[in-house]
Structure formats: structure tokens, C-alpha cells
Amino acid sequence: MKYEILPWLILFLPLLSAAVITLFTLRCKTTSSLISIGAIVAGFVMTVVFINANGFHPAVSETMTNWLNFGGPLQIDFGLKLDALSLMMLLIVTGVGGAIHIYSYGYMDEDPSKARFFAFLSLFTFSMLGIVLANNFVMMFIFWELVGVSSYLLIGFWYEKPSAGDAAKKAFITNRLGDFGFLAGILMVWGLLGSLNFGVLKGAMETNPAALGCCATIAGLLVFCGAVGKSAQFPLHVWLPDAMEGPTPVSALIHAATMVAAGVYMLCRTLFLYTPDALHVIAYIGGFTALLAALIAVQQNDIKRIIAYSTLSQLGYMVMAVGLAGPTPAMFHLTTHAFFKALLFLSAGSVILGMHHEQDIWQMGNLRKKMPITFVTFLIGALALSGLWPLSGFFSKDSILGQAYGQHNYLLFIIGVFIAGLTTFYTFRLFFVVFFGQEKSKAASHAHESSLVITLPLIVLAVFSAIGGLIGIEGIYHYNFPIEGEQSAGFIAALFEPFKASPVAALLGLLAFAIGLVAAWALYAKAATDPLPAKLGGMATAMKNKFYFDELYEATFIRAHDGIAAVVNWIDQWILEGCGIGLVRGGTNLSGRMLRHLQTGNLQTYAFLFVLGVSLVLYFVLRK
């Protein structure tokens, strides 16, 4: 393997930049941002160089040092796994991340804490790269946690806003719930198989599929818990929409392109663990999340929240794909999703910036004239998300639908097609309300296009969103997940591949797109307020209120914990401290009070007691 040092550099440069910014250049905004951008761009360049030299499938795919060593039973390595899966993710993280870093330079220009922001971004990049490169479970868990905390820091970046602080807390705790399962799963796998290295574990599972015994499904599902938390799957999906309290580049980077994808990536990385039963559960959870989020998205009014729910929904797609034993479609969709969802978020950020931090879509309108570049890029993103041929989203979504169809799981297939329609509907609802119709507020009439440093990343991402499905990304993942049969080669062949492979899926997907688009146009092209609540009634309220999951969790999980805490605290205060210590103290106190009567202050009483004492001693001495 050539340039073995490069992956290490790619991994540690962002950490170094975070450390340098925190320690030395916190006062200097420009320098800090340039350091951070430099680190990630250098990472991208090095990734390209490395792939150029070694290809997507290096012969030796691991390099490691020992992090903790307890002899035979437990060795925790700090190692890098370099195969198609991780190298492709490296490209995504550094590439999309780089674009977002550059965008942030413009977006955060006026913020006094810009340097801190870039330090956090670099820390996040480091952790994300760590997850991607991890070659064993513990290392993945380490970076898993670090990603969680950097997202915590970034969501709570504007910590003086109470809502931001709360959202950060919620994201952290919800993620922690998932991590709890993840670590338990890791321990279980280690306990049964005695190793943590993905390669070794995979080998063990391949030689003996029953190695995990009766716990196989449980262990798999526990590991899946990690993905549930990080990728915001039902039932831990509640944190992601709230996480939109962070600055928009953060939403783009963390909560669209990379971090939330980590769960899917992890599932693909550990695919060998899951039994058919576990995969079933995973698929249905994914499908359900996708449906749920799409429904909620229909009735949201905050531009970022709509995109956030769309992210949830797409993540559900990916998880469903993994559950349908299709890691390639999942990763493919992950990749294209990274492009177009980052694009959407950044365009939304541009809109928000143009609107002077107004996020309610019903305050916008007719922005296509004021912000032409943003309008075009947003349109490309929206079309890609909705899955219009030949944009990237079409291919990846089609491969997932095709996987469901191919697996004869018609229920999930139908759900998938339905969600595709919904996706188009809510995306274009947003699109029409924001860019068409009348200006619905003063701010909308004074909106302006953003600067070049913001639009340039938009354009780059738009290009990739458009052609992402055609540049052979899917093929790269086949290194990791080989499939039988021939791969059609060539650009034109790739263009029409879906219609050849599973025409039903492709055509139904396009039909759903058309229906969604027409519905959105009919309802929202000229609307000044939302016409849907009147038509749907209670359903719309439920959707608007996110099906009351927050309230449900508030009433169950949080109440339960607080309740138990209150009871335990009461026990601690009154039973342990009150009775236990109180009794001891009371007893001592009482005996003291009684004994103090002997202390009369009278000389002769003391003399008397003294004589008694002496005679007692004499008695014992002379007893015999």
C-alpha cells in the first residue's frame, strides 16, 4: 500500500486544526476558519491522491497501532480500515464537508464566535473520519461518541438561546440511549466471539454463521440501536428536527450529509452480524421511520425542519435498504443523499441569510427573482430528492425500491413508492411556497442573493446532485458487497440501467413523483396560507405536532426517570440519611444527654465516681 501515512494525516489534521484553533487562534476569526478549511481540503486532496495510488480496493486494507492491550482476551487496536466503503465515505466526508466548510466561511462571517465554530467543525470532521476509518468496534464507538459530542456542541453553538441549549441536550441524551445499546451489543459480540476487529469478526461469522448462538439476533439488534440513535430512526428520531437549532451549515454537514449517515454506514460495515430476523426488524423500522417522517414533513412550516424531516425519511429509506439485505443501494443512496441534501440545506441557509434569519416559509414567497442562483440550485436539489430521472436521487432511490421489489417484500415496496410521492409533495410544497406566489412579508421583498463564497459551494454540490447517479458510485460499493451477474458499463447504459433492471420500480417511482408534483402545484403554487389543514382536519394537527412523540417521551421516559430520581432522592434523604444516620445520631445524642447529668461539676461526685472506678479496677485485679 502506497502512502500509508496519508490516511493517518487525513484523520488527524482536523483534530490538529481544532486543537490549534482552541489553544492559539481563538481570537482571530479569519485565521481560524482558514486553518479549519485548509485541514479538510487537504484531507480531500490526500484522499484523492491515496485513491489514485491505491485504487478503491487496496491490497492491504488495514493499518493499526495498539491502543489498549490486555494480552489475549482483550486487545483494542487503533486501526484504519481502508476499503471501498471507507474510501468512498472519506471522499464524501471530506468533499461535501469541504464544500460546507467553505460555505460556512461566508455564512458565519458576522458571528463573533466564528473561530469557535470552526474549531467545533474540525472536531466533528475528525470524529466523523474516525467512524469511517475505524477497523474495530471500540474505535468506532469512540468516534461514535465523539461525533455525538461534537454535534452536541454544534447544535448548542448559540448556547444563549434556551431552545438551542435544550435541543443540544436532547440530541445528546437521545444519542446516548442508542449508544447504550450499541456498547452492550459490542460487549456481547466480544463476549461471544472474542474479538473486536471487523475483519476478524467477519471471518469468524463466515466460517461459522452460528457462532453467536442464540444471542445472535439480540446482539445484532443491540448494535443496531447505535444506528437507531445516530441515524435518528424511530423511536429515537425526535432529536433530529430539534437539532435544526444549530447554524445552517451544521444542519447541512451533520444532520444531512455525514453524521446521521454514520448509522447506515455502521450497519453496512457490520452487515455480517445480522440474522434474517434482525434484518427484518431493521427493514421495518426503517420503512416506518421513512413513512412517519414524510407524513410529519407535510405539515411543517419551518424551512429547515421540513428538510430535517425529509432527511429522517431518507435515512429511513437507507436503513430499510440495509434491512432488505441491500447495503449497496443503501450506501448509494447515502452518497447521493449527501450531495442533494447538503445542497438543499445550504440553499435553505442561503434563503435564510437572504431573509435575515427568518425561517417560516409562510413569510417568504416569490424568491426566485431575488435569489436566482439559490433558486436554481434549490430546484436541482429538490428534483434530485424527489427522484426525477436522470438526477442522482432517481437512481439511488430506484435501487432501493428495486431491492424491495426483488426481495418480494411488497409491503415495504408499496410504502417506499408512497413515500416517494410524499417526498415530492412536501418538497415542492416548500419549493412553491418559498420561491413562487406572492411575497408574504416585508423581509421577502427585501431579500437578496448571497455572496460568491456561499453560492460557489451550492453550484458544486448542484453539479454532483445532478450527475451523482451516473458516475459509477454504485459500482465502487460492489468491491465490498459483490453481487452476482454482469455490471452494465458505460454512461448511456448506466442512464437506462434502472429501467432494464427493475422496470416496475422505476416506472412506479416516476409515477409517484408525477403525482406528488401535480398535487403540490395544485395546492401550493398560489397559496398564501396552508390549505391542507382544512382538508385533513385532525390528521393535519397530528402531523403538525409530530404525532406527539415529544409529548409521549416527555410523559414516559423523562417522567419515569425523573420520578425514579425523585423517589430515590427521597429515600436517600429520608431513609438513608434521615433514618440511618438520624437514628445513629439521635441515639448518640440521647446517650450524651443522659450521661451529661453525671457531669455535675461537684467535686465530691467526681471523687465518689473515682472511688467506684478504682474499686472496680481493684476488684478485677485482685479477683482471683
Binding site: L68, I173, R176, H561, V568
Partner: protein, 541 residues
């Protein structure tokens, strides 16, 4: 024999304390300078000692022995192996940081510094001692100043109550441990206070199992009270809540580890049978009518061993105290409770009786030492600025205190087990060690570590650092110059160093932890061997 570096590490603070006795009390700068210098020297020496330590070398290093009372077998004997090398390093660094943090003390400074130095010297000496007498004596030497410091320089309304409680609890714990140690001395029959010799002696002439089963609980609960083992924990949060921060730093960080260290150093290797045999002998059932209990309960009772009991008590520490911490409205009480909860992981590691678990436990001991010192230093700073640690009154402090706020954030994250800090390395190691022995309890401990820890730590951050800044705190000042920042930076750096390279410690710990584990599991293994031989012979016949 040349004087060991360990004698210097523990001796400098004591000498400085003696020097301070004759310095007039109005020479404040000189008093501080002497105290800082002495602890700095001892910290530097400790770092040097840590670097020179050879992992896996047989026996003790930097050893020194001076006979004192021959008839009883008492001698001044110091030395380090993997078990205490990290603790001494941690103790010396924390002592230095605590001395630096004593800038906040304004009244009776001279006495405070003297007590602080005596405490530091006592702790370091106790960890370095290989002689039961000095081991215990130096611990008491460090413990008594704690009470005085809390009583005199403590803060808040509950000061007296807390002082009494901590004094009584700790004295009780120390007393029970003392009884255990004396019983050990008498029962071992080695007629020496020298710990290695007692262990050697116990190897060749093991104590009778029932004697071990009698002594072990004395040591377990005696040391356990000193470490705030559930349900004897309530002194800790209360005491730390009112203690002046240097005292809380030294006690929660360093002195508290004495009990754990004692368990690992003495109780485990000398009393292996108490760990592996059931507590209740079958004859117990003949004396007491337990026939009415369901069969599985009887079985459970019969197979109850001390490690298992300890593991059950850990759940109290981790889960129960975690919940209590969630309810706290005072930052210091929260930190104190979380510190108690962390002890649970250490006990879990010890109870697992495996190399991984015990190494992890020692790793957490070191990590938690730094962490507890850091958090108490920070809360002390905030208290100094605001005069209140009531979380409902605080908020948005990050704006006025960027340095302290960042440090507190990092400390809170370290406290809920974030990778990169030494605590994570220790906790994850303990989980791995305990998983094979107590899967269910480890599962619960995971919940406590990841979820409950996460909840109360993020809540604290939300309430203290995030949110809008109340008007009245507009006058606060951040730690501005290097000397003020140094203790926090030093402690954070130590946490990060051992978090990134835990092998710095584990490679030193492992060989010696391995010896202890071997010692504990040896009887069981020997039994296995006998059985195997019996089987083999059976086959041959």
C-alpha cells in the same frame, strides 16, 4: 541504601509544612510560594518517577526500607509497582493543582496551607507505603486535616452537619478497616507489618477460609465506607458540597482512592479464599430455618460470594446515586454524587476479579482523581465568583467565563464518559472486564454510565453554562492569568494524555494486576488441576 525518590515526593510537602510553621502569618506571598514550590517539586519528581518506572520489572521499584520497631516488624518501607505508580503521579499533580487553587482561601491562610501540605504529604506517603503501619498512619495523617479544613474553611449553612457526618463516617470506616488490618496482622502470623512479606507469607501459609471470610468483610466495608460504597455514601456529596475546593479536590481526587487501593493491594492478594468461596457455609442453613424459601433463593444464598455482593452494591452506586444526582439542584452536590457514582465502576472492576477489570479499575482511579479535582476546582471558582452554586440561579456563564466554562464543559463530558478522556478508557475497560462475569450488572452499569450520566451532566451544562446570562452575574471575571489557568489546564491535560494513550498506564499496571488476579484465582485453578488429573487417571485406569 539511598533515599528513594518516593520519600522525597511525600517528604517535600511535609517539610514545607514544618517550614511554614515558623513563617509569620502576614508574609502571605512567601507562604504561598513555599507551598506551591513544595508541591511543584513533588509533582515534578512524581513525573520523573513515572517516566523512569520500568513496566513489568519484578518486584518493587524505587524501594527503600528502614527498620523501625523490630519486635513488631514495623519498618519504613516505600516502593512502587504498577498498582500505585499512577496513583502517586496523580496524587502529586492533584496536590500541586490544589495548592494553586488555594488562592481562593482568604482567611487563616497559613494554617490552611499547613494542613493542605500535611494532607498532600500524607496521601502520597500512604500510597507509597509498603508497610501496613505507615500505610494506615499516613492515611490518617491526611484524613484528619480534611475534617479540620472542612469544619473551619467550609461554606454554606450545612457546614457543621456535613463536617460531623464526614468525620463520623470516615472515622468509622477507618476504624473498621483498622480492625480488619489488625486482625489480618494477627491472623497471618507473619509477625510483620511489611505488606509484601505478609502476602508472601499468605502464599505459603494461607489463612483458614473462615478467618478470611471474617476479615474480608471488615476490610471491604471499612475501605468501602472510605470510598463511599453504597449505602454508606451520603457523607460524600454533602461533605464535598461544603468543603473548600482544594480540600474537596484532594479528598475526592486522591485520598478517597486509598480505600480502593487498600482493597487491591492487601485484601485481594492476602484473602483469596474469601473471594472465591461462598459466604454462607451449608452448615449455616442447619442453624437457621431457611427451608421455607424457594429453592432458587436458597441456591442463590448458598452461592453468594463477596465479589458478587460487591457487584450488587455497585449497582447502588451507579444507578441509585446516579438518580440522586439527577435530582440535585446544587452544582456541587451534583458533582459530589456523580463522583460517588463513578466509584461504582471501580468497585465493579474490582469485583470482576479479572485482569481487565482490575486494570480498568486502577485506570478509573487515576482518571477520576484528575476529573474530581478538576470539577471541584471549577465549581470552587464559580462559587468564588457568584457565591452560589444553585443551578436555577446560574446560567449562561459561558459568556462571561469562556475559559472556565470550556473547562467545565470538558469536565462534564469526561464525567459522562466521553472518549478522549482517561475516564472513558477506564470505564470501557471495566465493562469489558465485568461483562464476562456479571453480564446483567454490566448492562445496568452501562445504562448508568451512558444514559443517566449523560442526563445529569448535560442538564448541569444546560443550567450553568447555556441559556441567557442573568443580569446579576455581569461582573464575573474569567481566570485571566497563567497561574490561575494552570491548575485547570494541567488537570485537563492529564486527563487527555491518559485518554489518548491509556497504555502509558495499563502497560505499567498489567503485570502487577496480573499477579493479583493469578493469586486470587490460583486456588480455583489448582482445584481444577486436581480434578483434571483425577479425570486423567480415571481414563488411564
Amino acid at each position: 541504601m539511598t533515599t528513594s525518590i518516593l520519600t522525597y515526593i511525600a517528604g517535600w510537602p511535609i517539610i514545607a509544612a514544618l517550614v511554614l510553621l515558623v513563617v509569620p502569618r502576614n508574609y502571605r506571598v512567601i507562604i504561598r510560594a513555599i507551598a506551591v514550590l513544595a508541591t511543584l517539586i513533588s509533582a515534578v519528581l512524581a513525573v520523573k518517577m513515572f517516566c523512569q518506572f520500568v513496566p513489568g520489572a519484578n518486584g518493587f521499584q524505587f524501594e527503600q526500607q528502614i527498620p523501625w520497631v523490630d519486635s513488631l516488624g514495623i519498618s519504613y518501607h516505600v516502593g512502587v509497582d504498577g498498582l500505585n505508580v499512577g496513583l502517586i503521579l496523580m496524587g502529586a499533580i492533584v496536590a500541586f493543582a490544589a495548592t494553586l487553587c488555594s488562592f481562593e482561601i482568604q482567611t487563616r491562610e497559613k494554617e490552611f496551607y499547613i494542613l493542605l501540605l500535611v494532607m498532600s504529604g500524607g496521601i502520597l506517603g500512604a500510597f507509597a507505603s509498603l508497610d501496613l503501619f505507615f500505610f494506615y498512619f499516613l492515611h490518617e495523617l491526611a484524613l484528619i486535616p480534611t475534617f479540620i479544613m472542612i469544619g473551619v474553611w467550609g461554606r454554606g449553612e450545612k457546614k457543621n452537619y456535613a463536617t460531623f457526618q464526614i468525620t463520623l463516617y470516615l472515622s468509622l470506616g477507618a476504624l473498621i478497616a483498622l480492625v480488619g488490618l489488625i486482625a489480618l496482622y494477627v491472623a497471618s502470623g507473619a509477625n510483620t507489618f511489611d505488606i509484601p512479606k505478609i502476602i508472601e507469607h499468605a502464599k505459603t501459609n494461607p489463612l483458614a477460609t473462615n478467618v478470611q471470610n471474617f476479615i474480608f468483610p471488615l476490610l471491604l466495608f471499612g475501605f468501602g465506607i472510605l470510598v463511599s460504597l453504597w449505602p454508606f455514601h451520603s457523607w460524600a456529596p454533602l461533605g464535598y458540597g461544603v468543603a473548600p475546593s482544594p480540600t474537596a479536590m484532594l479528598h475526592a481526587g486522591v485520598l478517597k482512592k486509598f480505600g480502593l487501593y487498600g482493597l487491591i493491594r492487601i485484601a485481594l492478594p492476602v484473602l483469596p479464599a474469601a473471594l472465591t468461596t461462598p459466604i454462607l457455609s451449608p452448615s449455616f442453613f442447619n442453624h437457621f430455618p431457611f427451608g421455607w424459601l424457594p429453592a432458587f433463593t436458597q441456591h442463590w444464598l448458598l452461592n453468594l460470594t463477596w465479589p458478587y455482593v460487591l457487584a450488587l452494591l455497585c449497582v447502588g452506586n451507579i444507578l441509585y446515586v446516579g438518580w440522586v444526582a439527577m435530582r440535585q439542584r446544587d452544582l456541587n452536590m451534583l458533582i459530589g454524587n456523580s463522583s460517588v457514582a463513578h466509584m461504582g465502576f471501580i468497585f465493579l472492576g474490582i469485583a470482576s476479579l479479572s485482569l481487565i477489570g482490575i486494570s480498568g479499575a486502577i485506570l478509573i482511579m487515576v482518571a477520576h482523581g484528575f476529573l474530581a479535582a478538576l470539577t471541584f476546582a471549577l465549581s470552587g471558582y464559580i462559587y468564588k465568583q457568584t457565591g452560589s452554586l444553585e443551578m436555577s440561579e446560574l446560567g449562561g456563564l459561558c459568556r462571561k467565563l469562556p475559559f472556565i466554562g470550556t473547562a467545565l464543559l470538558m469536565a462534564a463530558m469526561a464525567g459522562c464518559g466521553l472518549p478522549g478522556f482517561a475516564n472513558f478508557a477506564g470505564e470501557v475497560t471495566v465493562f469489558f472486564g465485568a461483562w464476562k462475569v456479571f453480564p446483567a450488572i454490566t448492562f445496568i452499569a452501562l445504562w448508568g454510565a451512558l444514559v443517566i450520566g449523560g442526563i445529569y451532566m448535560t442538564r448541569a451544562i444546560r443550567n450553568v453554562l447555556h441559556g441567557p446570562l442573568p443580569e446579576k452575574w455581569n461582573t464575573m471575571a474569567d481566570a485571566s492569568h497563567v497561574w490561575r489557568k494552570l491548575p485547570y489546564a494541567l488537570l485537563l491535560a492529564s486527563l487527555l494524555v491518559f485518554g489518548f494513550w491509556p497504555r502509558l498506564l495499563t502497560d505499567k499496571i498489567n503485570p502487577d494486576a496480573d499477579k493479583i488476579v493469578e493469586r486470587v484465582t490460583a486456588p480455583a485453578k489448582a482445584m481444577d488441576k486436581v480434578l483434571v488429573q483425577a479425570d486423567n487417571s480415571g481414563v488411564r485406569n
